[in-house]
Subunit: 129 residues, 2 copies
């Protein structure tokens, strides 16, 4: 796992309100984004806003209000094989495999693990990066 | 608020276990750290591990198991005045002021706000950076 965090995704209750807060209120530079998600140009680690229920759905967990911090960190790699290898490395180190590496709707390949404290990490290949 | 996230701090139940997972398990490069906290050299946005109860104490909140995601994001600025101005900007945009800007034990000046979804941001001057 190379030492770089690509993305911090905050799961939010109201996407418009959250965009208003970060873009207009704090002045973070909003990037062109697909519908339903917002990305901010915060250097090499981007901040994303995504509806919390859809974030839980993407991770493939239930958001029962307990246990899920409502946030996900992402680490990007260069190939589907590297996604699978990184997930396997995390599991060998004591993480739980939550979502095995798979083709995902936005065109990439990704999976999730949960660290020993319950924080969720996505490991992804994004062919658009 | 300049668009850069300095630090992602995960509040962990067992610091030694978390360091073992991230440093040995995933191979993240551990930096020299003061006792009781671990920093990883993950590019311009660093990952930190800190006991969850101490993170809540630093934010000046109760960690009652609900509401606190167990994570804090940090944005660094250049002066105590810039800390106060950024906190004021966040509050004007709808954030809650949680910890007003103040001198802190590690030698800097920092405060916290809570965003509309309950995520905690530290705004800090770190004279050692």
């Amino acid at each position: 796992m190379k030492p770089h965090i690509t993305l911090i995704t905050l799961g939010v209750a109201d996407l418009d309100r959250a965009i208003e807060f970060y873009a207009k209120g704090l002045g973070l530079p909003l990037k062109d984004s697909p519908a339903g998600v917002a990305f901010f140009a915060t250097g090499s680690t981007m901040l994303a806003l995504y509806p919390r229920d859809k974030l839980a759905e993407d991770i493939t967990i239930d958001d029962d209000g307990r246990g899920f911090a409502g946030i996900a960190l992402a680490h990007n790699v260069e190939s589907p094989e590297a996604v699978d290898a990184t997930l396997a490395e995390a599991v060998a180190a004591g993480a739980d495999l939550v979502k095995p590496g798979q083709k995902v709707f936005w065109g990439g390949y990704s999976g999730y693990f949960r660290d020993p404290d319950g924080f969720y990490w996505e490991v992804a290949l994004n062919p658009f990066l």
